[in-house]
Symmetry: C2
Subunit: 244 residues, 2 copies
């Protein structure tokens, strides 16, 4: 038996998400099927992040076990031959049987792209979210500092999230602007369901003056979802990097 670690990229547009589901096309299923075609084994692939429908990944890490004697680095080429063109393997290598793509994660980085262009080009519609408001980047940056550190993020989490522990640590949260495009870069110990999208949605509403910074502080302190902003659409979200 060997444990293989893959780093993969995908365009999330035509997936209902990472995780195998009864209905809908998932990245996990595509990879498991492709491995099955190579090794004839029914493997379960474990991913570092369960990205949602339409969320992209530039650097998702996964592992699986195989009894195949195919050299680990050959899986990259073999899988890329089989996988559909919206999923790609960047690297494949043998790792210790103790390595775990989910449990061993130390930090994760996500990026969110937002356009405030007057004329939003349809070519960008799956890769960034468009809003028509004018944003005050200084206000957003100041408010972003509130999220740094360890907090109970119950107020910034989908009601559907099946977890007991809402405590997560945010290490960095940076907002950069290039013409009409804003990039939110966030690194944390881990993220609850929809957490990045709700944090960005909250900062955006702060940026156009709908939510005050004091309210955001209350949302963090009291874990009150109603005080936080809206959940941004998935289209602008990218899983950027997994740190072990």
């Amino acid at each position: 038996m060997q444990r293989i670690k893959l780093v993969i990229q995908y365009d999330g547009s035509d997936f209902v998400g990472w995780q195998r589901q009864k209905n809908g096309r998932t990245v996990q299923q595509e990879i498991e099927c492709a491995i099955n075609k190579i090794t004839a084994e029914d493997v379960t692939v474990v991913g570092s992040s369960r990205t949602d429908a339409k969320v992209h990944a530039l650097n998702q890490v996964v592992h699986f076990d195989t009894n195949s004697t195919i050299p680990a680095n050959r899986f990259k080429i073999a899988l890329n031959d089989i996988l559909p063109d919206d999923v790609s393997v960047i690297s494949s290598k043998k790792v210790s049987p103790n390595f775990h793509a989910r449990f061993d994660v130390k930090k994760k980085s996500y990026e969110y792209y937002l356009s405030t262009e007057k004329q939003f080009c349809p070519l960008k519609r799956k890769y960034m979210t468009h809003i028509e408001k004018i944003l005050d980047i200084d206000k957003m940056r100041k408010c972003a500092e509130l999220f740094l550190g360890t907090h109970n993020f119950k107020g910034f989490c989908s009601a559907q999230a099946q977890v007991k522990n809402f405590e997560r640590t945010i290490y960095t949260l940076k907002i950069t602007q290039k013409k009409d495009v804003y990039r939110f870069s966030i690194t944390g110990s881990g993220f609850l369901q929809h957490m990045v999208r709700i944090i960005v949605g909250t900062l955006v509403e702060v940026g156009y003056g709908k939510i005050l910074q004091e309210t955001v502080k209350s949302a963090i302190d009291n874990g009150d979802r109603k005080l936080a902003g809206r959940t941004m659409p998935p289209q602008g979200l990218y899983l950027k990097k997994i740190y072990f």
Copy 2:
């Protein structure tokens, strides 16, 4: 009756092309249907360029006639409300009844994007073409000069093209490189079917040494399709601008 000129953008990925066809989704049909929802008229929309399946447009110009008294500039907003999210109207205005989106065209510009990245990201697959060869940009630039001016482009045209006159004028043909991405920018009096894609395909094969510049000269002089390079895939092609 008023004649309306629209400037539109679209993501060509999910279209079988501009022109209305029996089978398959076309941009022309989407626009005609949207106009019908607004005016209840069956209009025919004339486009400047009949872009192929999967080819994108940043600046397609179209015209149509309507008996509706809706102010011309309102069509932009009304159409964008109805159109699917892969087509967008940039502007709408009233023009002279003599204006013709196809016959009045003086020049057209197209761009073609090509990536030679080792690791091609699946997020780019619909928006540029990937090749794994190393290209000699100096060779390509030198050869590009052969295309400038007025020539019979029969050798650089699809066999299916239904035209009698193969004479076209190329005004500019520039190749620029940013890291591993090459951009081919071409402006001409007009283009035959697949002409831009065959010219780029020919230059690419010159760039990796498969075709000699002398052969390209013969292909132009003799109108021999077999001497020219392959037709590049549509994914990297953008209709950039129409000049009247």
